[in-house]
Symmetry: C2
Subunit: 332 residues, 2 copies
DNA sequence: TTGTAAGCGTTATCAC
DNA sequence: GTGATAACGCTTACAA
C-alpha cells in the first residue's frame, strides 16, 4: 500500500540499497547492466525518491523559499518568472508561499520555509519590518526584491525609484507641462522614494510640487482627485503612485468630463499589464522585473556557493514606457 | 555553525531528546518545570524543528501541493486565497508551484510535489492531459479546480460554464440584442464549454450563432474583429471568451470608431479585476473563486481523513456581473 | 563496481 | 513523567 522505497527497488533489482542510490544520482561508477536493472525495477514499482529523506541525509536541500507579498499583484508575477528561470538553471527548486499583504502571515511563511530548511529566502515586496528581516537573514541568506529601502543584513535588488519618478516628471515637462500633481502611495513601502523623486525633480526644474495623499488602488485615486477638484485647481498632468491609481485617475477624470490626454495627462508606475491594455494605454515607469528575479537568484547563490558575507545592493535603472495617456497640454 | 537540533536543546535543558519532542508537540504529560526549561533552551538556541526529519518519522506531512496554471492570471489568485484560508483552518501547509502555462513544467511540478510527499494535489486550471491526471491521482488524492472537463480519477471543482455562457446570452437578449457574436478561446481548456453554452442558448432562443476563432488575449480579439469587419457584418453585441479578450474587443472597436456600449455591447468572462476597473467596466460572468478554493480543500480532506474513494464533482453556479459595457442596441 | 553500516533529526514504543 | 531505543528513507564513507 505504502509507496515503494529504495529498499523495495533494491530487492526487486537484486542489488543493495546503496547501489540504487548511486543509480538515482546517476553516478558513473555503476555497471550498465545493474543500472538498467535498477531503473527497470524503479519504473515498474513507480518508485519516487523521498525528498525528506534525501534532505535529511544530505547537508543541503537545493531548495529556495520565496515569499510573495501578494499573489494578486501582477507586478510580482514577472519577478517570479525571473526567479524560477534562474533557479532552474542552477538546479534549485523554488517553494512559493503567499504573504497575503499581511506581515504576520509573512512571518509565519518565513518560519515555514526555515523549517523546510530552504537554503535561501527570496522576499518579493515584503511587508516585514527590519527586525524580521534581520532575524531571517541571520539564519539563511536572504534577498529582498523590489523594496527600495535598505534591508539590514539582507541583499537588496531594486530599482532606483527616485530616478523612476524623475523620469515621469521629465517626460511631462518635455511635453510642456508645468502644473504636475503627484498622487502618492500613502503608507505603501515604495511611496516615500517615489514622492521624493517627484519632489526633487520638480524643484530642480523650478516647478512647484503638489502632492496628494493617495494609496494603492482605484478608490484612493478617486478620493484624491475629487478632493482636488473641490479645493484646488486641476493640473494639466498627474503622476500616480502606481498603475492602479493611474487607472482610477483615468476613470475619475473622464467621469468629470475631462479627456485624457487632451485635458489631463496621466502617468503610472510599474508597467503592469493594466498599463498595457490598449484601452488604458498608460504611460508608466517600467522596472525590469524579470531581470530583478534573475539577479535575486544570482545574489543568493553567491552567498550559498561562493560564501560571500557582505550585503549587496543592486539598483537597476527604471525606464519609461510611453503610451497614449500623455500628450502636450492643451495650450502650452 | 549548523542549526541546533533537538539533541542540542536536550543537552542545554538537561533532559533527554524524547522529552524535548514531547514539549515541542505540547504533550500534556510533561512537568511544568521541565517544559519551561526546554522552552527556554530552545528559545536561547534559536531552535527550529526540522520538517524533513519530522515528515520522515511520521507517516504524514500535513502538506498540500498546489499547482497554478499561471501565476500571472489574476483569476487564479482568488482561488489561491480560498485554498489557503481553508487549509489554514485544517492545519495544512500549502506549497505553491507555478505551472507557467506549460504542460511539461506542470508535469515536473507534480513530480516535485510528490517527492515532497504532499498529502494531496490541488491543480488550478491545469494544462495537464487526462493521462497525467490519472497518473497523479493514482498516487495521491487530486482535485482539479476551474477546469470544466471531466478529470478521470480526480475530484473536480468547477462552475457550469455552459450555464455561464447562457447567462451572458440571456442578458444580451433581454436588452434587445439578436445579433450576437462569440469570440471563442481557441485551444483554451474552457473554450469548448463556453462556446457550446453560447450556441445552445442562441439556438434555443431562435437566434443564429456566429462563432469567431479567438484566443486568450487582446491581440486575438483584435484579429477576430478586424476579420469580422472585413468579411462580415458587425453585430450589435459580442460575447468574448474571457475578460482579456473582451478588453481587446473594447479597444479594437473604439479604434474603429464604434462606441461601447452605444454601438456594440461587450461581455467578458471571469470577472477578473480588469473587468472591475472603472475605465473598462465590463459586464462579465463571475465564478465564485474563493469558494472554489475552499471546496477544493474540503474535497481532498474527505479523501485524506474520511477516506472517500469515489470521485466527486462539484459544479457551482456562475453569476453575471453587469457593468457598463452592455446596453440595449441602438435601435431595437 | 558493489555491499555494509553509520548517520541525518525527528517520532513513537517501550520500559522504568 | 522521563529516558532509551528503534524506526523513517536516504546518502556516504569505507570495505570488499
Amino acid at each position: 500500500m505504502s509507496r515503494p522505497t529504495m529498499e523495495t527497488v533494491a530487492e526487486r533489482a537484486g542489488v543493495s540499497r546503496a547501489l540504487v542510490s548511486l543509480v538515482m544520482n546517476n553516478s558513473s561508477k555503476v555497471s550498465e547492466a545493474k543500472r538498467q536493472a535498477v531503473l527497470r525495477a524503479a519504473e515498474q514499482l513507480g518508485y519516487r525518491p523521498n525528498l525528506h529523506a534525501r534532505n535529511l541525509a544530505q547537508a543541503r536541500t537545493k531548495t529556495l523559499g520565496m515569499i510573495i507579498n501578494d499573489i494578486h499583484n501582477p507586478f510580482f508575477a514577472e519577478v517570479v518568472y525571473g526567479v524560477e528561470a534562474a533557479a532552474d538553471d542552477y538546479g534549485f527548486d523554488v517553494l512559493i508561499l503567499n504573504g497575503g499583504r499581511d506581515a504576520e502571515r509573512e512571518r509565519r511563511a518565513v518560519e515555514t520555509h526555515l523549517q523546510f530548511q530552504v537554503e535561501a529566502l527570496i522576499l518579493v515586496g515584503p511587508k516585514l519590518d527590519d527586525d524580521d528581516i534581520i532575524r531571517a537573514s541571520a539564519v539563511v541568506p536572504t534577498v529582498v526584491v523590489a523594496s527600495g529601502r535598505d534591508n539590514p543584513g539582507a541583499d537588496t535588488i531594486t530599482t532606483d525609484e527616485e530616478r523612476g519618478a524623475a523620469l515621469a516628471v521629465q517626460h511631462l515637462v518635455e511635453l510642456g507641462h508645468t502644473d504636475i500633481v503627484h498622487i502618492d502611495g500613502a503608507a505603501n513601502i515604495s511611496s516615500r522614494a517615489r514622492s521624493r523623486g517627484y519632489e526633487k525633480a520638480m524643484r530642480s526644474l523650478g516647478l512647484e510640487p503638489r502632492i496628494l495623499r493617495g494609496g494603492d488602488d482605484e478608490a484612493d485615486a478617486e478620493a484624491a482627485i475629487v478632493n482636488l477638484a473641490e479645493t484646488d485647481s486641476m493640473p494639466t498632468a498627474i503622476f500616480a503612485f502606481n498603475d492602479l491609481v493611474a487607472a482610477g485617475a483615468l476613470s475619475t477624470l473622464e467621469a468629470a468630463g475631462l479627456r485624457v490626454p487632451d485635458d489631463v495627462s496621466v502617468v503610472g508606475y510599474d508597467n503592469t499589464f493594466i498599463a498595457e491594455l490598449n484601452h488604458m494605454s498608460l504611460t508608466t515607469v517600467n522596472q525590469p522585473r524579470h531581470q530583478m528575479g534573475q539577479l535575486a537568484i544570482r545574489t543568493v547563490l553567491e552567498r550559498i556557493e561562493d560564501d560571500r558575507t557582505e550585503p549587496t545592493r543592486i539598483d537597476l535603472a527604471p525606464t519609461l514606457s510611453v503610451r497614449r495617456s500623455t500628450a502636450p497640454p492643451r495650450k502650452a
